[in-house]
Amino acid sequence: MLITFIYVRRWVIGISFALAGMVARAEFSAERMVLVEPRLEGAAADRVRHWQEAVRSEARDPVVAFEQLGWAYVKLGRESWDAGFFKLAELTAQVMEATEGPIPAAQLLKGHALVQMHRFAEAEELAQALVAQRGEPRDYALLADATMEQGKLAAAVAACQQFVNRYPGLESYARVAQLRWLHGDLAGTIAGGWPNGRRYGDDVIDIAVTAIISDLRTNPLTIRSADGIDNMSVNDAVYNKVFPYAGTPHNGRNYAHNPGAKVSPLYNLSTRGPVGEGYESLISGFVIRETEPVTILVRGLGPTLTSFGVEGALADPSCRCGSRTVRWWPRMTIGAPRRSPTSWPPVWPPCRTARRPWS
C-alpha cells in the first residue's frame, strides 16, 4: 500500500489514498507534511524524489515544484506500469488547483493523468477548455490523445495538425504516425513499432514469436530473435511503453542514431537585426560536428546594408567568435582560455575582435 500526504501551507489539504483501492481522508496540522517515497529505482523515480523534496523543503516556487512533481509521477507511471502514479499526478494537479485556482498548468497535468487512467471524456473536456483559453502545443496534444482514444479520429486529426504546426517534433510526429496507422495508412506510418523495430504493416507472426521468446519484464526490453525471424538486432529509437508501443520517429535533425552519416553540412548562417551594447549584441551560434577542424569566415556587416535600402545600418561593426563550454556562463576564448563566469558579454582578447584582417 502506498500512501502519500500532500500538504499546502495556507490551505490544509489532506490527501491520502491507497493503491489497493482503499481511500481515506485525514486532516493535518499546518506545519506537517509526510511524503512516503516509493521504493523504486531509476531516473524517473529519482526525479520524483527530487521534486518531492522540493515540495517539502519549499525551496522552489510551490506551483513549479508541484507541477514538476506531477509530471514526474506521470513519467514514473509510464515506466513502472504502476497506474497509481497517474492517480498521484491527478491529486497533485488538484492540490495546484486548490491553491492557485484552475490554472492551465494544473489542468494540463490533470488532463494527461486522466488520459493515462483512460478517463478520456474528462480529459477531452479539459483539453477543449485549454485550447479555447490559450492553445499551446501540449494543449492540442492532450486534445489529440483524448479524442483519438475515444475513436473521434476527425477531431484527433485536427488537433494533431495544430500540434504539429506549433511543435514539429518527436511528440507530434509520433501522434501523426499513430493516427495514420488508425486510418489504415500503413505506408504513411513512420517506420517503427514493437517489438524490435517492426513496422505496423509487418508480419504479425514474426511479431508474436518475438514477443513470446523475448523477456518483456526488463527495462529496456530484452528482445530475442530466432531462425526465420527477420527482426532487426538493435533498436535505434526509443519505444513508447503504451499501446501501440511505437518507436519514436527520427526528427531529421538528430543524427545520433547513425553516427556514420555525414553530418553538419553547414555552408552559411546569416542573422540580421538591431545591434546594441552588452546584452543587446547581435548573437548567433553554430555547432561544428565534424571530426576535423573547420575553417570558417565570420563577417559583421553594416554599411553594406545601406546599399540594399536598409535604414539605420550599423556604421562601424565589430564581430567576435567564441566557444561555449559546458555551462552558459563559463566561456572560453579561442586559443587563450579565459573564464568569465559572472560577466556578460564575456571578456575576450582584443586580437579576436576582427576588423579588416584580410583582403
Binding site: 538591431p274 545591434v275 549584441s281 553554430f286 555547432v287 536598409v310 567576435r320 561555449r324 583582403s359
Partner: protein, 46 residues
C-alpha cells in the same frame, strides 16, 4: 586567404578562423558603442 567574400566596406569586420568541433557563439557589436541594424554571417570556407 582569398575567399571572394570580403566585406564591401573597409569599416566592416571579418574574421577567418579554424575551429575545432564544438559549440560556438558569434557576437556583433558597434565600435565605440555604436548601434544600428547589422548583419552577422558565418560561412564555411572550403
Amino acid at each position: 586567404m582569398a575567399t571572394g567574400m570580403a566585406p564591401m566596406q573597409d569599416s566592416e569586420a571579418a574574421l577567418v578562423v579554424t575551429l575545432q568541433p564544438g559549440v560556438y557563439t558569434t557576437l556583433l557589436n558597434g565600435v565605440g558603442g555604436g548601434t544600428g541594424i547589422g548583419l552577422l554571417d558565418v560561412f564555411l570556407v572550403e
